[in-house]
Symmetry: C2
Subunit: 269 residues, 2 copies
């Protein structure tokens, strides 16, 4: 199955929550520390309890790279455990000159076998092209991010009157000839979301920023609904995977996910 098909299957069921596996040994339930690999154990239980109802998984590469080879092994094992039915987004935020981006694309799509990736637009199409040459994968380009300092550059006004992030959205639309581009758009920017949603066209939108960062799930969903669009996934990491520190954390995460799915389905009715 292509990444596009996998995502479509989930969205058709009104599953819009992407589970962010920002798994940190200092934040997982402490009883897991008795296991040989606590992070892998944590990820497996989260995945087992959510795989039927998640829209996608987003793996934050930084959290695995930061502990070296063991982290990379755990990343690989986590990806294996998720399997082939649901989109795995490598949240790696890569972007480099052509021959180097080609290596990053090989790394993420061939070696780690992820379905999608997040990419920095700063260096332009040369840095994106090696990724979008994989037509059965999805490349999510950073449009407007969820952090405060997105104002530093993303919200700079160009001489054309557009914001920089709007120029990124426009160019991403141009690059989307194979229907394999998407955008990252922070859920903390609701007014910008309302203003720019028509320019997303049919591209899938990955929205971080709900939960720990303060974005509103209800406002995001309503905005897509009001614009007759459903091609969006809302990432929740810390606000979902760490809600319970007890031995039954996996059940709590599952229940929370089902609750969010219900809430979203209701908003989309």
């Amino acid at each position: 199955m292509t990444a596009q098909e996998k995502l479509k299957n989930r969205i058709e069921k009104k599953y819009h929550i992407c589970i962010g596996l920002d798994s940190d040994v200092n934040k997982i339930p402490q009883h897991l520390l008795k296991f040989n690999n606590p992070i892998l154990e944590f990820n497996k239980r989260i995945i087992e309890s959510t795989i039927d109802s998640a829209a996608a998984y987003k793996i934050n590469f930084a959290f695995y790279e930061s502990w070296g080879i063991e982290g990379i092994k755990t990343l690989e094992q986590t990806i294996d455990f998720i399997g082939d039915d649901v989109v795995i987004i490598a949240d790696a935020k890569r972007g480099d000159i052509g021959n180097t981006s080609l290596k990053y694309a090989e790394s993420i799509f061939n070696h780690f076998r992820c379905d999608a990736v997040t990419l920095h637009p700063y260096m332009g199409i040369d840095s994106i092209e090696p990724f979008i040459n994989y037509t059965d994968k999805i490349s999510f380009i950073l449009g407007l991010t969820s952090n405060k300092s997105s104002a530093d550059f993303e919200k700079q006004i160009l001489s054309s009157g557009k914001f920089l992030y709007q120029e990124v959205i426009e160019k991403t639309n141009e690059w989307n000839i194979n229907n394999n581009c998407g955008l990252v758009f922070g859920a903390t920017n609701i007014s910008e979301l309302k203003e720019n949603i028509p320019s997303f066209n049919e591209m899938p939108i990955l929205l971080p920023g709900v939960g720990a960062q303060g974005g509103s799930l209800e406002e995001v969903v309503s905005t897509f609904y009001q614009n007759n669009k459903n091609n969006f996934i809302i990432n929740i990491s810390r606000g979902l995977i760490y809600i319970d520190e007890t031995e039954s954390f996996d059940k709590s995460v599952k229940n929370k996910l089902l609750e969010l799915n219900q809430q979203i389905a209701k908003l989309l009715m």
Copy 2:
């Protein structure tokens, strides 16, 4: 020694060539394939023959990540082999929201023990701060890159009349309160280099793009010389490490480096 001291020591000797270890098993001398780990063998020989006369090493993370755990091991072993006397730049082009950039910074500075890193500015100061909190390391922010599509966004004109990359340079200067910021400025942009060099102030400049990408070493060096600046390093990767396919490739690379050093010293006289 801090990264700043290591770099200063080399630049005082008029060593300005940063050796880019974009080591690719398809491009290294083929007789090395008989070794257990041809890339490690290649890197070791390059390092052994150049360590006394290089300004720095730049390790292109993509080339190691793309072969998974074995690649990461080789990355670690290469860093160990370089040792503590010369700046190791993690050319990783990272940048994410604060808590994630913190993990990337831990990865690059604590786990891999690199002295410097390259960073995407797109997401603003939140994404840079966790790196520049390491005051004895150098964070090279992407200003104007060497690739053609730097025109897509970096050369967009802002409503202020400045180019986006100039706004990045300005903000990087503001962030540089601990003298640990630097800039990446592509050697393929000579007219922009001449125009913007005064705005670099005392920051170290990493210039890729000489060699395979077509930038002129002579023009870069002359521009710094004419502006009474010497805080620059010119990265050469493919144009240096792959110049000889024979068994004595390491001697050829050494000779080429010494020749480049002489050429630069002459231009700086």
